[in-house]
């Protein structure tokens, strides 16, 4: 017999980062390797997928079958690698830290730098000469006319040209099928053989419907790929174990580890898991397989403390598993999830670099019946998060006040203070309500998992595609102030002609112009997103992913054709706080009885277009005196709420290509820095080429308090933000663990009770980050929260580093007062007009 499940938490307290090399030596060693690993471009997937697409079994093969066979070709034939002594078999790529190439999406983006990518200054990604040749001669030429973007351009070049202007919107489907949470629970509990058997039964029952017949066949083909891959891992692990004859203790451990991998992989994921180790392995192999078919962007393991808990509990109570072993196996999963990053072309790196693959893990919260879902595995996973402060996975903690215990909220808070960055906090009350408003049943909404950065979706039921559209709010504002023109269309109006500034007599007229431009852009974005979706349907069905969802098996319809229970798409926004504050400034300066600073809108626009050169008084006024979001100013509250409502209502009722709805969100990854760097000045006093504020976060360096900033965010109606938001807060370093934890935890409670949906933190003061930028070698593994995910500070571009430095800092233990950055912004060269990324 083992020990009671209630004994877990006292045991966990014994494990710390300081004693990890003694208590969990394998994890300590793997963590060191992880930090040392350098990214390499992985061409193996591209090679196998392309090889099959070039020479399919039959030219007349339906795309559903062809795609399944291409993916199987890769999974069944890829080499098996054991990069280290990780207790889980399988890896995303052939490299310890790999960036897979997806040529069907935007893999060709690295074509210009095939001979240079290994040595480029920003985040080099190693590519061998041989692999560069493979891409250059064998892979990329075949895709010249076949990438998804090109398929769309051939159908509607005018619409595609809007995307290529890059300042209006981004349609992520050009780069990915991703941002969703599969139901790994079914593989863990039932095994893939059961899924295959189900597909046979369904096929037998569907008569002569060839679409359905092909779909069920494609499921079996892709599932066979997973089985082949797992069997190959088992064979190679056994072979490696047999080669070890040395009797040194470390070799004995390695051998027994390999033998256990061989045993487990010869069983799962084909059959149901019977132990915690088997369940974790099954989940991991399926995660690898999903990324073989779909891009490695935000493919989320989901609520794994719920999926894996029965196995954990059984093993603990029966004595088959110790706490140390559970920590080790879970830590191995964390490090495996961190074994891949996105392939990032140099140009994109300069603008948006530093992201991981952002597989999100969701802990805690409530279950489908509304009961407290926090369990002992939740605490164990929080401990692993504390012990392994790494970029991926993106760990998120759900919390429902009054149902989840305060001890849990305190423990999450303690881990955030310990890691200074992770996990992020999510408020179940608001998020479940937001999902219910999106027509999810209460039970399904309660079972939501965080997708990628911050987005929400019922786990395994919602094919959420949550990063589908990025709307550039600063461009909408520019168009409203320039009669529909954009910065890249010169004198020609791209949007509707809503009037020159002189034609807008009051704030209502301005709002009408803004809303009309937003509506125009939203229509274009939806049209394009749906075009891309149709291109996916015609070229990239997803049988493997479909088999891991509720819905497709029953309906005989691939996910990409709307087979899931829910079929949403996400719409996020860049520049929220800066644009809100700009509207506040417009109202204050041009359309109120302001005696201190008053001018016609046309003059304000002229000043903004001149980057405030020669308008010093105006600049100082709009920066320091105009109403600001995050200060509880009544004008700012009204305008921020109006913007949230407008954006929601504009997308509400629009339908995507799968018949689902669009969910509005406010998270920005690093886009707010990248696009800020190339955008002109704004009426709020933000000068040209300065980064925007992140996510939903109030603009940096606004003189306010923690309470006011949180209150303004909490006031935003969560029903209008069903895709969720990223609120990034920065606290001064905190001393005195228990008092700080309590204060920290109490602030979360208060913010959530006021209506906040999400919040994440950096516990770093200005000067630490300034120092980290100046002396990067001394901060090699400094982990920070960006806008929805974590990153190593050194891997971020200069603009993003500056955005993190200048984020407003609050002194939690000093009543949450705002700590001003001193010296101010202008002392940072890279934030001036001449600034730029590395």
């Amino acid at each position: 017999m083992g020990f009671s499940i209630q004994d877990i938490r006292p045991q966990l307290a014994k494990f710390t980062r300081d004693n990890m090399s003694e208590t969990l030596p394998l994890l300590a060693e793997l963590l060191t390797r992880h930090h040392k690993a350098r990214t390499a471009v992985d061409v193996e997937r591209a090679r196998y997928i392309t090889a099959y697409m070039k020479k399919p079994d039959s030219r007349d093969e339906p795309i559903q079958i062809k795609r399944a066979k291409a993916v199987k070709n890769y999974l069944s034939n890829r080499k098996v690698h054991f990069h280290d002594d990780n207790r889980l078999g399988g890896a995303t790529t052939a490299h310890e830290l790999g960036a897979p190439v997806y040529p069907e999406f935007f893999g060709l983006g690295i074509w210009p730098e095939l001979e240079f990518i290994s040595e480029r200054k920003a985040n080099p990604q190693f590519l061998s000469t041989q692999d560069a040749k493979t891409l250059n001669y064998d892979v990329f030429p075949w895709w010249l006319e076949r990438t998804i973007s090109e398929q769309v351009r051939k159908k509607d070049s005018e619409s595609q040209a809007l995307v290529e202007k890059m300042i209006l919107m981004t349609i992520s489907k050009a780069a990915t099928i991703s941002h969703t949470t599969p139901d790994y629970g079914r593989v863990v509990k039932q095994g893939i053989n059961k899924i295959i058997a189900n597909s046979r039964e369904q096929e037998a029952a569907c008569g002569s419907d060839t679409t359905k017949i092909n779909f069920y066949k494609s499921i079996r083909i892709s599932m066979q790929g997973i089985l082949d891959y797992s069997a190959n891992i088992a064979v190679q692990a056994q072979k490696r174990a047999d080669e070890i004859s040395d009797s040194a203790p470390q070799h004995i451990n390695r051998r027994s580890n390999l033998l256990e991998i061989a045993r487990i992989c010869s069983k799962v994921p084909a059959e149901p898991a019977a132990s915690y180790h088997e369940a974790v392995t099954a989940l991991w192999i399926c995660q690898v397989a999903v990324m073989a078919e779909n891009s490695n962007m935000a493919i989320n393991p989901g609520r794994i403390d719920q999926i894996l808990y029965p196995f954990f509990r059984n093993d603990i109570e029966s004595g088959r598993l110790t706490v140390a072993e559970a920590l080790e196996i879970t830590g191995c999963l964390w490090l495996k999830l961190a074994d891949n990053v996105n392939l990032v072309p140099e140009a994109a790196e300069r603008l948006f670099g530093g992201a991981g693959a952002v597989p999100a893990i969701t802990l805690g919260g409530i279950d489908a019946d509304g009961r407290d879902a926090v369990n002992e595995l939740t605490y164990l996973m929080l401990k692993v998060t504390e012990l392994l402060p790494i970029r991926d996975p993106n760990v998120n903690a759900r919390y429902l006040s009054g149902t989840n215990p305060v001890e849990y909220r305190d423990e999450v808070s303690r881990v955030i203070l310990s890691t200074k960055a992770i996990p992020a906090f999510f408020n179940d009350e608001q998020n479940i309500r937001a999902l219910e408003e999106q027509a999810e049943t209460l039970e399904h909404a309660r079972d939501y998992a965080v997708v990628g950065c911050v987005e929400l979706g019922s786990a395994g039921r919602d094919y959420s595609a949550s990063s589908s559209i990025f709307m550039m709010l600063h461009t909408v504002l520019y168009m409203a102030l320039h009669n529909g023109r954009t910065p890249v269309t010169g004198d020609k109006s791209l949007g509707p002609e809503t009037g020159e500034p002189a034609d807008l007599p009051d704030i209502e007229a301005f709002w009408s112009a803004f809303e009309a431009q937003y509506a125009w852009l939203a229509d274009k974005a939806v049209h394009l997103n749906n075009l891309y979706g149709k291109a996916h349907q015609e070229n990239l069905p997803t049988p493997l992913l479909s088999s891991l969802f509720h819905g497709p098996m029953e309906s005989g319809r691939d996910l990409i054709f709307g087979g899931a229970v829910y079929n949403s798409s996400g719409v996020t926004h860049i520049g929220f706080a800066d644009v809100c504050d700009s509207i506040n400034a417009i109202e204050d300066v041009c359309f109120s009885n302001n005696r201190m600073m008053h001018m016609p809108l046309a003059d304000l626009v002229a000043a903004v277009d001149a980057d405030f050169e020669g308008y010093d008084d105006l600049w100082h006024y709009v920066r320091n005196r105009a109403p600001k979001y995050g200060t509880e100013h009544k004008v700012a509250i009204r305008n921020s709420q109006r913007m949230i409502r407008n954006n929601f209502e504009c997308f509400d009722g629009k339908r995507n290509y799968r018949g689902g709805n669009y969910r509005v969100a406010y998270w920005t990854m690093t886009n707010h820095a990248g696009y800020g760097r190339v955008a002109g000045a704004l009426p709020n006093g933000r000068k040209a080429k300065v980064v925007f504020s992140s996510g939903i976060t109030p603009a940096s360096q606004v003189d306010t308090s923690l309470t006011s900033a949180l209150n303004d965010v909490a006031r935003l109606d969560s029903r209008h933000i069903p895709g969720a938001y990223a609120l990034n807060m920065k606290y001064s370093s905190l001393e005195g663990e228990s008092a700080a934890t309590k204060r920290f935890s109490d602030v979360i409670e208060s913010y959530f009770r006021s209506g906040g949906q999400q919040v994440q933190f950096n516990i770093q003061d200005y000067h630490t980050l300034i120092d980290a930028k100046a002396t990067p070698d001394e901060y090699e593994d400094l982990l920070v929260r960006v806008s929805g995910y974590s990153a190593y500070f050194n891997s971020l571009n200069s603009a993003m580093q500056d955005e993190l430095i200048t984020r407003s800092q609050y002194d939690l233990m000093g009543n949450g007062k705002f700590v001003k950055l001193d010296p101010p912004l202008k002392s940072f060269k890279s934030l001036s007009k001449a600034g730029g990324a590395k």
Partner: protein, 169 residues
């Protein structure tokens, strides 16, 4: 037989190397003049044409590659184009340079000024996205073709032994 071929083609090779040197000189003179970079694009493209004739490895990139590009510069009212096809005479793929815009291109690149145009062919890492965002460059056509072309054109400064032009941040 091989020796005979070498003897016959030696003068051709020598002439090509000399032509490459002349083009290098011409590029250096344009760069030394500063300011107006008219003509640099055309010279660089002619250099690329020659490099593709000389370098068998690089030439492999244009095997079975039938593509047409136009490059237009608004401020200098310049246009230059290239096409790739198989030469019946040489029995190998070649690149042709035309001093005008051509029809039926796979992609047309429009530059705001000659400086941007020069950076495109002579920088260490041509950044078309930054060019688009800065409103200095516009693309019309299949983006993938320009990615391949940048791969090819990046060989020019390296092969010519000319310091790449640095792009402003």
């Amino acid at each position: 037989m091989r020796r005979l071929f070498r003897r016959i083609f030696r003068p051709v090779r020598t002439a090509r190397e000399q032509l490459l040197k002349d083009l290098r000189q011409e590029m250096l003179e344009i760069l030394a003049r500063g300011g107006n970079l008219d003509g640099l694009m055309t010279v660089a493209l002619k250099a690329l044409r020659l490099i593709l004739l000389i370098d068998r490895d690089l030439r492999r990139n244009i095997r079975d590659f039938n593509a047409r590009y136009s490059f237009i510069c608004l401020d200098g009212n310049l246009a230059v184009s290239v096409s790739f096809k198989r030469s019946r005479f040489l029995r190998q793929p070649v690149m042709e340079v035309h001093d005008e815009a051509i029809d039926n291109t796979n992609i047309t690149v429009t530059f705001a000024d000659t400086r941007t145009m020069a950076e495109f062919v002579m920088s260490e890492s041509p950044d078309i996205f930054a060019g688009i965002l800065d409103n200095k460059l516009a693309l019309d056509g299949n983006l993938n073709y320009i990615l391949k072309f940048i791969y090819l054109v990046r060989h020019v400064p390296k092969r010519m032994g000319i310091e790449p032009i640095s792009c402003p941040a």
